[in-house]
Amino acid sequence: MSKKMDKVWFAVFTVPLLFVFATVVIIPFLIGIGYSFVSWDGIPANPKVFVGFDNYAKLFQDERFLASSWHTIQFTVLALVSVNLLGLLLSLFVTAKLRTSNAARTLFFMPNLIGGLILGYIWQFIFTDAFKMVGEKTGLHSVFFNWLLDPQFAIYAMVVVFTWQMAGYTMIIYIAGIQGIPDDLIEAAKVDGANLWHRLTRIVFPLLMPAFTICLFLTLSGAFKIFDVNLSLTKGGPNNASEMFAMNIFNEIFGYGHYGLGQAKAIVFFLIVAILTLTQVVITKRREVQM
């Protein structure tokens, strides 16, 4: 077929989606970049003043913004590990052809069905009421106390809730990956005498690379952008110790009414995160096996 026809087909297949995507995400994002150079309170009828790079200069002196970035990084690293370990483990469990597999597959996914805001409210009961009760009954006060009141444990609490929510999510992507591995490959390996560990590390994991790429990235982007759970579980407290990046921006834009500064923060953070994660995607993509 001619090269020209290929281009036409390329357009036919991709343009509809890209058009919608551009109007909903790209253009608003570009407008947002424009706002990062003005001083404005976000109210359409109020004046916008061009201030050049002032907002960018300001944000690097904003200690609270820097602190929230640091919380976000801590949170993301912890969440990345715990979500994916647990998600992978669960997916191996429920594809192991056990009697309870089907039911378990539904149950593990259930947390994901509850939206982020409510999730935080429910977990508040657990950290304040349930943990207190367990602590009193078992005497393990060093573990079971109200995590939300301790600056460091408040971040851990968010990791726990996020893991609880996202593990089931990554689980079903891992399941989709595992289901894509042909049975005969594994059977052949069994015949050759490979034990479970070898079968996992030599066959299953390499073939799961696409799923890894996806899950790592989804966890990463979910963790970086976390807002709902932050708002409803800790409100950023105590003393801003668990304020994450998205919440910091939200407060800047809607709390203080510094629209331009908030946008500038968003763009700086976006650039840093995009460079980091795209590197990650490129690296893991390289390790994917083509069939």
Binding site: F10, P16, L98, A103, A104, I114, F125, Q179, F224
Partner: protein, 278 residues
Amino acid sequence: MRTTSKWLLELLLVLLALCFLSPVYLMVVNSFKNRAELYQNALALPSSLSFQYYSKAMEKMNYWTAFGNSVFVTVVSVVIVVLLASMTAWMLVRTDNKLSKIIFMVLVSTMLIPFQTLMMPLMQVMDWIRTNLHLPMLNTHGGLIYMNVGFHASMAVFLYHGFIKSVPVALEEAATLDGCSKFGVFWRIVFPMLTTITITIAILDVIAIWNDYLLPSLTLSDKGLRTIPLSTFYFFGEFTIVWNLAMAGLTLTIIPVVIFYFFAQKYIVKGIAAGAVK
């Protein structure tokens, strides 16, 4: 020996599942308590199993209208996302040039933008479309669906992109030689082999769109258009939450998706791609 370890594994699985379910337990038991009972003990079972809060929540939420709205918005959005994203992803995988790499990277990197920074400019763009092109993008289901498609497109493309690799190119080439157009190749050969990931994407997007509060709250104003999450607003005051109604409303919100998930996951089965290679 083998059976013992299998039993242990089963037991572990059940325990883990119960652990996972505990917050859901909290949600359900507290949908049966009044404020005084909730205050006494949030963790205990309710003293009586009366469904009064459920019927009250249903009535306040105008449940069935909201249910219809949610189903319409969710189903149409997800169908469009799946169709457009699978086509786009396939083209991007099979066209090995700079352009498709750039498109892919742009799609993926935008998933890192927090929605909070997009919402105001998005409203401006939609207002511009409304006033200049006279398309009703705001306060309509159509507009909400359009925005849903835009926001969920990148993740779907990303997921498809990863899984299309498991579809053997040889099959497509054979079909092309048989005289199939690109369209034919895609819909007859490729798409059917992507069932597992399609179902996965459908599940993830159905849940995300079904539960979404923020975007509908910005775009839908009229009472008759409200989706289920929007109609639970009555229970969330500035300082207080009417817990029993909120929890009942929430349970009512997620029951349909639980049912959907339970049936959909059965279609995530083994061997579709594998079978085709033989």
